[in-house]
C-alpha cells in the first residue's frame, strides 16, 4: 500500500533503512551467540556493547545500568515486579498515575491481587499529575513511584524533575515509562532524578521486539526472566543481537536529528491543530498545549464515535488511531480521556494523530480536509447531533 498518510507514530514507527542496514550482518554473517568464547562471537559482544554505550550516553547513564529487554511492556513489568520483590522488607505500596499505559496499569492490577497496595494519583484537565496528591500519597511503606514521562494518547509531558525530587526527598525509587519520550525529548537520568526508565525501540524508528530498562546502580533488582547469565545475570535469554544493534543505531540517529526533527514535527502539528480548531465546530484538543510531545495531536469531536472516524480516514488512506493501538479491540473509552474529565460519549469521539518528520504540509492539509468531510458526514448520521 503506497502513498498512505501515516499519522500513527505513537503506535509504531517505520524502521529507518540505516537501522535495517546496521542489523543485517548480524543475521546471516555475524550470527554468533555473544555468550560464546570464540572470536567469532566476540564481534557480537562488541556490537552489543557498542549499542549499550550509545544508549547509556543518550541518557547520561553508565553502560552497566542498561539492561536489554523485549520491549516497553517487559521493561514496565520488570521494573514494578522487581521492586516489589526486592523491597518487600520495606513495604508493599506503589504510587502511580491514573493515565499510565496498560503495561503499568495491568501490572499494578496483577500486583494488587498479590497483596500490593497501589495509589493511582489523579491528573488535571490537561493530564498533568497532581504533585501535591502524589506527595501526600507517600507512606512509610511506599517502595516505588512510577509515573510515565509522556502520555501515549494525549502527549502530555509530566513534571519528571519535580517527581524525581519528591522521590529523592522521601528516598523512594522512581521509575518512569519513557516509551513515548525516549528519542523524542532530552532525558538525563541524573538531572531528572530517575532511578529506572523503560524504553522501546520501535517508537523511535528502531525495530520491534527490543527495549531496555535502565536501572540506576544501587537500586535493588531481581530478575523477571530467569535462566542464563545474560545481561549481567539479570535478564536471561540469548541476546537479540540484530535487535540490539538496530536499537543502538536508531538511538544514535534519533539523538543526532532530535532538534531539527522535532522542530519540523511541531510546525506540522501546529498547522494541524490550528486548521482543525478553526474549521471544525464542536472539537477540542486533549492534553496540555505546551507540555506536549512534539508529534502528538489528540482531538475530541462531539457527537461522533472514534472507530467510524478511523475507518473513514482509512478509506482515504489516512492511518490514525483512537486511543492507544494496543487497546483497540477493547470497547471501553480511553481511561486517559476519562481521567482528564471527558464525559463518556466525548471520550468516544477522540482521534489521535501522531506525526513524523516524514509527513508533509500537503499531507496535513489533505488530512484536515478529509477530517472535515468525514466529521460532517458522521454527524449527519448521529442521533446526538441535533438533539
Amino acid at each position: 500500500m503506497e502513498n498512505k498518510i501515516y499519522l500513527d507514530n505513537a503506535a509504531t514507527t517505520k524502521t529507518r533503512p540505516e537501522v535495517v542496514e546496521a542489523m543485517l550482518p548480524y543475521f546471516t554473517e555475524l550470527y554468533g551467540n555473544p555468550s560464546s568464547v570464540y572470536e567469532f562471537a566476540n564481534q557480537n559482544k562488541k556490537a552489543v556493547d557498542e549499542a549499550r554505550k550509545i544508549i547509556a550516553n543518550a541518557l547520561g547513564a553508565d553502560i552497566s545500568e542498561i539492561y536489554f529487554t523485549a520491549g516497553g511492556s517487559e521493561s514496565d513489568n520488570w521494573a514494578l515486579k522487581a521492586a516489589v520483590d526486592a523491597y518487600a522488607d520495606k513495604g508493599n505500596h506503589i504510587i502511580t498515575s491514573k493515565i499510565e499505559h496498560h503495561a503499568i496499569l495491568h501490572t499494578c492490577e496483577y500486583l494488587e491481587k498479590h497483596g500490593v497496595e497501589v495509589t493511582y494519583v489523579d491528573v488535571d484537565e490537561n493530564g498533568i499529575i497532581k504533585l501535591d496528591q502524589l506527595e501526600k500519597a507517600i507512606r512509610p511503606t511506599t517502595i516505588l513511584i512510577s509515573v510515565m514521562f509522556a502520555n501515549n494518547e494525549i502527549g502530555t509531558i509530566q513534571p519528571i524533575k519535580e517527581i524525581g525530587e519528591i522521590a529523592k526527598k522521601h528516598k523512594i525509587p522512581f521509575h518512569t515509562d519513557a516509551v513515548q519520550a525516549f528519542g523524542h525529548l532530552d532525558i538525563n537520568v541524573n538531572d531528572l532524578g530517575i532511578d529506572m526508565l523503560s524504553a522501546s525501540a520501535h517508537k523511535l524508528n528502531g525495530p520491534k521486539g527490543i527495549g531496555f530498562l535502565y536501572i540506576r546502580k544501587g537500586i535493588k533488582i531481581r530478575s523477571l526472566i530467569h535462566g542464563g547469565g545474560q545481561e549481567r545475570q539479570r535478564r536471561a535469554g540469548t541476546e537479540n543481537v540484530p535487535g540490539i544493534v538496530g536499537f543502538g543505531k536508531a538511538v544514535e540517529l534519533a539523538m543526532a536529528t532530535m532538534k531539527e526533527r522535532t522542530e519540523k514535527e511541531i510546525k506540522l502539528r501546529n498547522l494541524l491543530m490550528k486548521r482543525v480548531l478553526e474549521e471544525v465546530p464542536f472539537v477540542r484538543v486533549n492534553g496540555d498545549k505546551v507540555k506536549r510531545l512534539p508529534n502528538n495531536v489528540n482531538f475530541s469531536f462531539q457527537f461522533i464515535e472514534g472507530e467510524s472516524l478511523l475507518i473513514m480516514l482509512d478509506m482515504n488512506r489516512i492511518c490514525a488511531s483512537s486511543g492507544s493501538a494496543c487497546t483497540s479491540g477493547s470497547l471501553d473509552p480511553s481511561h486517559v480521556l476519562l481521567a482528564i474529565g471527558l464525559p463518556h460519549e466525548i471520550a468516544h469521539g477522540s482521534l489521535r494523530l501522531t506525526l513524523s518528520e516524514e509527513n508533509t504540509e500537503e499531507e496535513i492539509n489533505y488530512t484536515v480536509d478529509k477530517i472535515k468531510e468525514i466529521v460532517d458526514k458522521l454527524r449527519k448520521m448521529s442521533p446526538l447531533y441535533e438533539d
Binding site: 464515535e305 475507518i311 478509506m315 460519549e345 468516544h348 448521529s382
Partner: protein, 145 residues
Amino acid sequence: MYTQKVMDHFTNPRNVGEIENASGVGTVGNAKCGDIMRIYLDIDDNGIINDVKFKTFGCGAAVATSSMATELVKGKSVNEALKVTNKAVMEALDGLPPVKVHCSLLAEEAIHAALWDYAEKKGIQIEGLEKPKSDIHEGEEQIEY
C-alpha cells in the same frame, strides 16, 4: 477486520435520516461501549413497514447493522419485522468479528423499541414483543491476570 458487505453498508449506509411523525421511534444505547441507535418506522394501516430510517452514534459495525436492519424490515409486516434478529442481520452482512457481535444486538433492540413505541401509540399489543431494555449489556469473558 470487517467483511466487504459491512464496509459497503458502513460507507454507503441505506436509510439514514429521520421520519417526521413516525409511527414508532426507538432509541437504545449500549452501556458497554456507549453507543446509541435510533430507528424510525413508518407503518401503514395494514401493519406494513412502508419506510424506515435510522441514526447511529457508534462503531462501523453499529452503522452497518443499522443500515442492514433497516433494509431487512422495509416492506415487511410488523410480525415479519419481529423475526429480524441480530443473527439474521449478521448473516446478511457475512458476519461480524466476535468483539462486535454486541453491536448487532443494538439494531435488533432498536427495531423492537420502535415497534413497542408504535404499539403503545396505537394502543395495541404485538404478540411476542417484550418491552425492550434501553441498555444492552452483554457478558464478556473476564481475563484473570
